[in-house]
Amino acid sequence: MKSFAKASLIAAALSLPLSISSAQAEEKKDFKVCWSIYVGWMPWGYLQDSGIMKKWADKYGIDVEIVQINDYVESINQYTAGEYDGCSMTNMDALSIPAGGGVDTTALIVGDYSNGNDGIILKDKTDLAEIKGQSVNLVELSVSHYLLARALDTVGLSEKDLTVINTSDADMIAAYATADVTSVVTWNPLLSEIEAQPNATKVFDSAGIPGEIIDIMMVNTETLADNPDFGKALVGAWYELMSIMSSDTDAGIAARTAMAEASGTDLAGYDAQLATTKMFYTPAEAVEFSKAAELPATMKFVAEFLYDKGILGEGAPSPEFVGVSFPDGSIYGDANNVKLRFDPSYMQMAADGAL
């Protein structure tokens, strides 16, 4: 009997915290959002450190904690599991992980899109079409994979024409150094590191598909609906910092320098990364982007890619399995299963100076 008692105790101890969800709809005062290292997300760390976040949270009488998580996918998983009220992620991962997992998610702050930050590098070759027949090392099912699929479209190839080798991003630079690796798809800062090798040529990058790899602060829709102050505080703090960091004042340079150091580079290195990132420094730009006609088309591409790779939720019968709603009220996919919402109303408030 002892082993039974012990086993059930352990099992209960292990599963109890999982069964108590934090995504309950209720008014609350304490919020947690998470982010991971990426050029367009470094402001989140600075918001916490500089006290700008606290200032805005105090204004609305709430408390917001911004937590850095070392592993990107892990941060999304934590958000999906209900540990965080918001998390920075790309539109593609938002659709596949939280939305595909039934967690209703709203794109609160559309921060930027990759405009050259993700790229395909060939060794000793200079033309994208020469990728045919090669083994390509990349983080499978990530935006790198998506970029590859979109790039292959442009030269009339498909994934059948090559072999994709799933390679951890942590090992990408070492992998490139080995003889049997001839092409990689990766993102910055790894991309520029590999591109600096003498035999490396970048044959395609995300500037070729502008506006498709979007970096967004995603928040739980229910939490946001019950606590609009949470959304207002985040958006207010974000755009205050955006106007600071986009300026060439001392404060702007100090902010960018701090973000550069936090991401392991220097001001010049960080500015170079910003140059391949289309930051939406003003809320008006972000609102305009969210309302643009291209966004639904992009999400359709993304949904089809995810469906094609079998990522879009288990037993997803079609790419339209998860619904995505857009600012004009239109919906891509299943209208009865809308789990991802592009809602620029909070960014609009910032643009109107109403925060």
């Binding site: 009997m1 082993s3 039974f4 086993a7 059930s8 099992a11 209960a12 599963s15 109890l16 999982l18 069964s19 969800s21 995504a23 996918v73 999304i76 998983n77 999906t80 599991a81 991962d93 596949s96 992980i97 595909g100 997992g101 039934g102 967690v103 090392n137 983080v139 499978e140 099912l141 990530s142 994934e159 072999t163 994709v164 080798i165 799933n166 390679t167 951890s168 090992d171 070492a174 992998a175 150094a177 080995t178 003889a179 049997d180 690796v181 094609d308 790779k309 079998g310 990522i311 939720g313 288990e314 037993g315």
Partner: protein, 273 residues
């Protein structure tokens, strides 16, 4: 009667053995049920049915992309890597173990080196393995060998050292050559212990197999787990974990059976776990 003297009947023993498993399944089902009440598409604790469906899909329905039955492709590739690695380790354990255990000069030359080498955490030299052997099969198998061989060699050498000195002296007095002593005296004594070493070596071997596949791969059980981890597909991960456990368990039992059949005398002294 005191509790230590009361033995369960065969049926009771079976039921007792099954209890922790059943309890785990029940606790899991309850937790999963309550989580899914809130969000039916919850990815963290999928229902048993959806895990069963995912397992069935992996095992019996060709993949949309490649047309392969993923579970079997993954299983065969992983077992091939594991088998090759363990075969190399076993051969090394047998040859080097006997040499170290039986020949003092070899022992002096290799034992300290081996003892040091076996302390290197294999994962830490993985980047070196990549550069040396590339990202292909060789690096993965090498990782398994490096992770298991040193310990297996040491335990085999120890098994040789444990052979009673009297037996060796007796063989020498009877005029046996070194080769005869190795084949007729040492080998039969060491083989059952080699199987034990192999069974113990399989535990870290699985860990290294999964780690190697997680880093750069196109197939394999570890590859699949780390791939679907990207979208929190616990309904694939959990059945895969169970499947790996089952495979490991079967391998272990098969080796035990082999040992019992081939070296009946070695197991005469009583049963072990």
């Amino acid at each position: 009667m005191r509790i230590i003297n009361r033995k369960p009947s065969r049926v009771t023993a079976l039921a007792l053995g099954a209890l922790p498993f059943v309890a785990t399944i029940i606790v899991y089902s309850v937790a999963s049920h309550y989580r899914r009440l809130e969000n039916p598409a919850d990815k963290l604790l999928p229902s048993l049915e959806s895990m069963g469906a995912a397992f069935w899909r992996m095992a019996a329905i060709p993949d949309r992309r490649s047309g392969d039955l993923l579970l079997w492709v993954d299983t065969i590739d992983s077992l091939w890597r594991l088998g090759t690695g363990m075969a190399v380790s076993t051969v090394m354990a047998l040859s080097l173990g006997i040499a170290i255990g039986f020949i003092p000069h070899v022992r002096s030359a290799l034992a300290p080196y081996l003892a040091t080498f076996s302390l290197i955490p294999p994962i830490t030299i993985l980047p070196i393995l990549f550069i040396t052997f590339g990202l292909g099969e060789v690096a993965k198998i090498a990782l398994i060998v490096i992770g298991t061989a040193p310990v297996m060699i040491r335990s085999t050498a120890q098994a040789v050292l444990d052979i009673p000195r009297e037996m060796i002296i007796k063989a020498e007095t009877l005029g046996a050559t070194v080769w005869q002593m190795i084949t007729r005296l040492v080998l039969p004594q060491v083989l059952p212990k080699l199987i034990t070493a192999l069974r113990l070596g399989l535990v870290p071997a699985w860990i290294f197999l999964i780690s190697a596949e997680a880093i750069a791969s196109t197939t394999g059980l570890g590859y699949r787990i780390f791939l679907v981890r990207r979208y929190l597909a616990m309904d694939v991960i959990l059945p895969y974990v169970l499947w790996i456990t089952l495979l490991a368990f079967l391998l272990d039992r098969l080796l035990l059976l082999l040992s019992r059949r081939a070296f009946r005398w070695h197991h005469a002294g009583g049963d072990a776990l």
